[in-house]
Amino acid sequence: MKPLIGEHSLFGPVDPAAEAGYVDPPARKGFFTDTSVCIGCKACEVACKEWNEIPDDGFSLTGMSYDNTVSLSANTWRHVAFVEQPAAPAAATDGAGTVDLGMPGPPPPTSPEGAQATEELPDFRWLMSSDVCKHCTHAACLDVCPTGSLFRTEFGTVVVQPDICNGCGYCVPACPYGVIERRTGPEGAKNVGIAQKCTLCYDRIGDGQRPACAQACPTESIQYGDVDELRERAKARVEQLHEAGVMDARLYGADPDDGVGGAGAFFLLLDEPEVYGLPPDPVVTTRDLPHMFRRASAAAAALLVGAAVAFAGRRG
């Protein structure tokens, strides 16, 4: 019998569906989100809400460029970030930095010096990027879920079953990206109190349909498909951009050796991840669990039995 917890069960490269016990699962599905062609239209955000009947996120102007839904949340499963930035640090001299995104970065624009000669202004960039649950190879949210509500699908994706979730909220701090969240409102909405996040449209891809967000994206910034193939495509795209002189292009989450074993949903970015509000080096928060398990840490053991039972239940 295969040990319940393998060498890479919680860390390192694996095929998550096979690891979860599926025999002969279909190819792992995921997203390659190429932010270099995103036009910030938010069709993905809206399509996701339509398909999944997600309530609105409130109506308030944030002043964070054109981002008024702020971040991924229980009520926003696709989120488009807008980053206004001067490309050259020279901009600091005229005081006109980025619009405040509420995250680390240059200070907001206040200085009057911008009125001076315009030709000194550096090239300006407006980055847009559609964020989503990463469907981690090693998903801490799933690892810590005591009820088995969060489960690994045959497509290698991570999905919440709202009718099983008891609202304990363990998954919320476990996610290294801050993706999953319990719904707190609005009043009358369904699944209030329940953990919510992208399902990678489990109820569409099983029927051979593309996820709603990818289907709506006009520029194919969101590409859906087999993760292996998408990784190849993403690599080729980075090379193409480098050849075209866009040296900032880089992949985020595509490496199976990274802290979450590679994300099922990974990204092509044009700047450091922090610029987009993404953690620079995310690590599955349960990475050290096997080590701790051997040391028979009582708390960890209790947690893991729950997780192991959840796996076993779906085996074969």
Binding site: C41, G63, S111
Partner: protein, 887 residues
């Protein structure tokens, strides 16, 4: 080249093809007053002062001509560059911003001196009177749509050396549009400007083509038509017209604005661009037809008689016979300006009784919102058909004028009928998109409740009115009673068959019902009928061709089997120009259609697209002298709708404001025109009324009271006047509040806080919004001064999940003379921190600005600013005002 368009935000679906072109190596350049989501994806962004695009493009034309970078072979063969002009023509450089033939009294031109040399002597003055009428009825461009009327063979100099040939005239006209001047007028650095020139010319010619994209950022100006003309001149000079990957892409509105000009919702044209008969000019059926055909002229409009007869037969069926001129007398006549803005003024003046609004929200979406609302508040009745209860249905109980007390709900006389409308997924029919392509929509779901389609509404309205009048013996009711009003109905609500309507639009043989496959089958004897000749073929063989959905990968790259494009399913107009004069492709890379001498009996035109040329007319064909109509077009003249078969660099007829585009300042501008004494378009249409004041501009005093330039446009997240977005939470939450974008420098100058409030003031209104300080707006150096641009989205009103003031309230009404489009992309304003005053106090604020600027004394602005008749209003001078005893 994307200019005057925020394509990524306003046309995101079409923008996927720009991204695809970019992925294949195309360079994308965006020229715009503001850094938008389009700029974010472009390879180069060039900020430009709003309202100066003719100066910019004129600069590019100058660069092309001075450096001889034009595609010479194409230019000589396919344009009127070689044609020699009349000796009497005088250009704007001779007359300080006016062309020859100007009459300051009527502010119109007599175009006699603009004609080709040796053109038959036109009677003096006749042209001027025509221009006056054409400005009223927006009919000048019928010359353009109906082709240049060219008689005889004007002299040409193919060496392009003759001093009066169009090429030399053009070169002189733009010689002052140097990089230095572009920098001074547009605020574009010479370096950036020359980079655009380089990119554009390097990607044009035999092996390469450049596409030019514009939208309402170009059209909504008092010189809107001339903006597009400038683009056309450039694309002709560079050989980009009628060729794959070239052309000028006018991005039309969502989702069927193209369709609503083809089968128009305009007062001055009928389906297929036939003119609405004019009471003064078209007394008889023959007068009307001849005004389109120009008997003796060349070109494709020669068959206009058949198109008109088919339309009348479609309207009046059996009642329309040759004996009664096919009921020509039943058509309404126009007598002058009945455009939307004139109508609003007439509403205010109590001359209009009723008004229909369908999918239109003028209380928010049209220029001068205040005039729109006050007009609607003075009707007997108003019908609003919309998805939600929009502001144009609630202005009487909830609007800025209710807040100021100018509209009192209890007293407002207008009876408003609000009808719920079916949305596009709840009804069948077609959309005609920006490429003239018709795409059929099937109904996905039943409309909820009482919501119905427009087709249902008008069919049954017509039916009920006809039933009411059934016993009438009044002559005036005959047009209604004789209508062919007989569409098959289906479903529990008696929905008329949209496909039957499409078949009628397509046309068919009256006797057999056989659908026509081409407008060449249309007869002028009443044996065929068809509602829109350019759409003939969409129902060929009894098949709904607009419903075709063959995926692109299963057919040629032109994709002729997806939907159907007019005319004749041709995807690229004037594509004869993609081949050289001998009929061979200019290059293998850029081949589209060509002459195949081995095809058919004596050779045929063939290619990937439907050739835009008579199929069997060989490139060597030359007309005999004196021939007219289509036969007069030579085998090497690709622009077949033009009387000389040539692309018009210079336009001798059809433009009220001159044969060549010339830089004029916007009607409201903080700057004096650097190029000419004439400040703004001298022939523009203005409504000089107290309720339509214009902010002063140089050379008049006090333009500094409104020191900033503003422009308005759309956000992706909202749809135009918001009727389809503010009422949906998923869209409303994405842009939840009215905001105003300013540069960091302007914010500092006016003390505006990011996220705080500001208000914007013009002589029409003061509106408020939250402040978004962003580097996407940049101050520009223009004529030695810094100019700030303020940007406002125009989506908000008092209804929906998210409410706010309407940017269109800031605008006054000044119109382009050719097509009567409003100058709504540029105006001047002041910006102040904090919220605007409430109630009547907001009127006081606007009034205080008017007083400071002298607008209270005279709401108009001087139009002719050059020559002895210049009428600059020095009475606005405070000293003079005192002497005059003004308050």
């Amino acid at each position: 080249m994307i200019q005057g368009s925020n394509m990524a935000e306003a046309h995101p679906v079409g923008f996927q093809w720009v991204m695809e072109a970019k992925a294949r190596g195309a360079k994308v350049i965006h020229v715009d007053p503001r850094f938008t989501r389009t700029s974010a994806l472009a390879d180069q962004f060039v900020p430009i002062r709003v309202g100066t695009d003719i100066a910019f493009l004129g600069g590019v034309i100058n660069h092309v001509l001075q450096n001889e970078l034009d595609f010479r072979e194409y230019v000589v063969a396919y344009t009127n560059a070689a044609t020699i002009l009349s000796e009497d023509f005088q250009d704007t450089d001779d007359l300080d911003g006016l062309f020859s033939g100007f009459d300051p009294e009527t502010r119109t031109y007599d175009p006699a001196s603009w004609q080709y040399a040796d053109a038959g002597q036109k009677q003096e003055g006749q042209g001027r009177q025509q221009h006056e009428e054409q400005r009223e009825t927006a009919s000048a461009l019928q010359h353009e749509t109906h082709g240049l009327n060219v008689e005889g063979d004007p002299p040409r100099d193919p060496t392009l050396q003759h001093p009066r040939c169009v090429y030399q005239v053009l070169k002189r006209h733009y010689s002052r549009y140097t990089p230095e001047l572009v920098e001074r007028v547009c605020g574009v650095s010479q370096e950036e400007f020359l980079e655009v020139c380089r990119a554009w010319t390097e990607a044009s010619g035999r092996e390469r083509t450049t596409a030019l994209v514009y939208s309402v950022g170009w059209t909504q100006h008092s010189v809107g038509v001339q903006y597009i003309r400038t683009g056309a001149i450039l694309q002709l000079l560079l050989g980009n017209m009628g060729r794959p990957g070239g052309g000028i892409m006018a991005l039309r509105g969502h989702a069927s604005i193209q369709g609503s000009t083809d089968i128009p919702t305009l007062f001055n044209i009928l389906p297929g661009y036939l003119p609405m008969p004019n009471a003064n000019q078209h007394e008889s059926f023959q007068d009307w037809i001849d005004s389109v055909r120009h008997p003796g002229s060349k070109g494709f409009w020669d068959n206009a008689g058949a198109y008109a007869v088919n339309l009348l037969k479609a309207y009046w069926g059996d009642a329309a016979t040759a004996d009664n001129d096919f009921c020509f007398d039943y058509l309404p006549r126009i007598t002058g300006d009945h455009g939307t803005y004139r109508t609003v003024m007439d509403m205010i003046d109590g001359k209009v009784k009723g008004y229909f609004l369908l999918g239109q929200n003028p209380a928010v979406g049209s220029a001068h919102g205040r005039a729109q609302r006050l007009g609607m508040a003075n009707l007997d009745w108003l019908v609003v058909r919309d998805l939600f209860e929009i502001e144009s249905a609630t202005f009487w109980k909830n609007s800025p004028e209710v807040e100021t007390g100018e509209i009192v709900p209890e007293e407002c006389r207008t009876e408003v009928f609000l009808f719920p409308a079916a949305s596009h997924v709840e009804k069948e029919g077609t959309f005609t998109q920006t490429q003239r392509m018709l795409q059929w929509r099937t109904k996905a779901v039943e409309p909820p409740g009482d919501a119905r389609s427009e087709l249902w509404f008008f069919y049954h309205l017509g039916r009920m009115v006809r039933e009411r009048l059934a016993d009438s013996t009044e002559e005036r009711d005959r047009p209604l009673l004789d209508l062919a009003w007989d569409y098959p109905l289906h479903g529990e609500h008696d929905e008329p068959s949209a496909e039957a309507v499409l078949k009628e639009i397509n046309g068919y043989e009256v006797a057999t019902g056989r659908p026509l496959s081409s407008f060449t089958e249309m007869k002028d004897d009443g044996s065929t009928l068809g509602g829109c000749w350019i759409y003939t073929g969409v129902y060929a063989d009894g098949v709904n061709q607009a419903a075709r959905r063959k995926p692109g990968r299963e057919q040629s790259y032109v994709a002729p089997e997806w939907g159907w494009a007019w005319p004749a399913n041709r995807r690229n107009l004037y594509n004869r120009a993609s081949a050289d004069p001998d009929g061979n492709p200019w290059s293998e890379r850029k081949r589209l259609v060509w002459w195949d001498p081995d095809k058919g009996e004596n050779g045929e035109w063939t290619g990937d697209d439907v050739p835009d040329f008579e199929r069997t007319k060989p490139p060597t064909y030359r007309p005999d002298e004196g021939q007219g109509g289509i036969a007069a077009i030579a085998g090497n003249d690709p622009f077949i709708m033009q009387g000389d078969g040539k692309g018009s660099l210079f336009v001798p007829q059809g433009l009220i404001d001159g044969p060549l585009p010339t830089h004029y300042e916007p009607v409201e501008s903080p700057f004096r025109n650097v190029l000419y004494g004439q400040q703004a378009n001298p022939t523009r249409k203005e409504y000089d009324r107290d309720d339509n004041p214009m902010n002063p501009s140089p050379p008049e005093l006090h333009s500094d009271v409104y020191p900033f330039v503003f422009t308005t446009s759309r956000l992706t997240e909202h749809h135009t006047a918001g009727g389809m977005s503010r009422y949906l939470q998923y869209l409303a939450e994405l842009q939840p509040e009215m905001f105003v974008e300013v540069s960091p420098a302007l914010a500092a100058e006016r003390g505006l806080q990011h996220g705080g409030w500001c208000h914007v003031v013009t002589s029409r209104a003061a509106i408020e919004g939250r402040v978004l300080v962003t580097e996407r707006l940049r101050p520009l150096r223009v004529d030695g001064r810094t100019v700030h641009t303020v940007w406002l989205p125009y989506h908000w009103g008092s209804g929906g999940f998210v409410t706010g003031d309407s940017a269109n309230d800031l605008l006054g009404i000044a119109l382009d003379p050719n097509v009567l489009i409003q100058e709504s992309k540029v105006g001047t304003c002041d910006v102040l921190p904090g919220r605007r005053p409430r109630g009547r106090a907001v009127l006081d604020l606007v009034a205080s600005y008017k007083e400071r600027s002298g607008v209270d004394v005279d709401p108009g602005t001087p139009i002719v600013t050059v020559g002895p008749d210049a009428d600059v209003h020095d009475h606005r001078d405070p000293v003079m005002r005192k002497e005059d005893g003004d308050p």
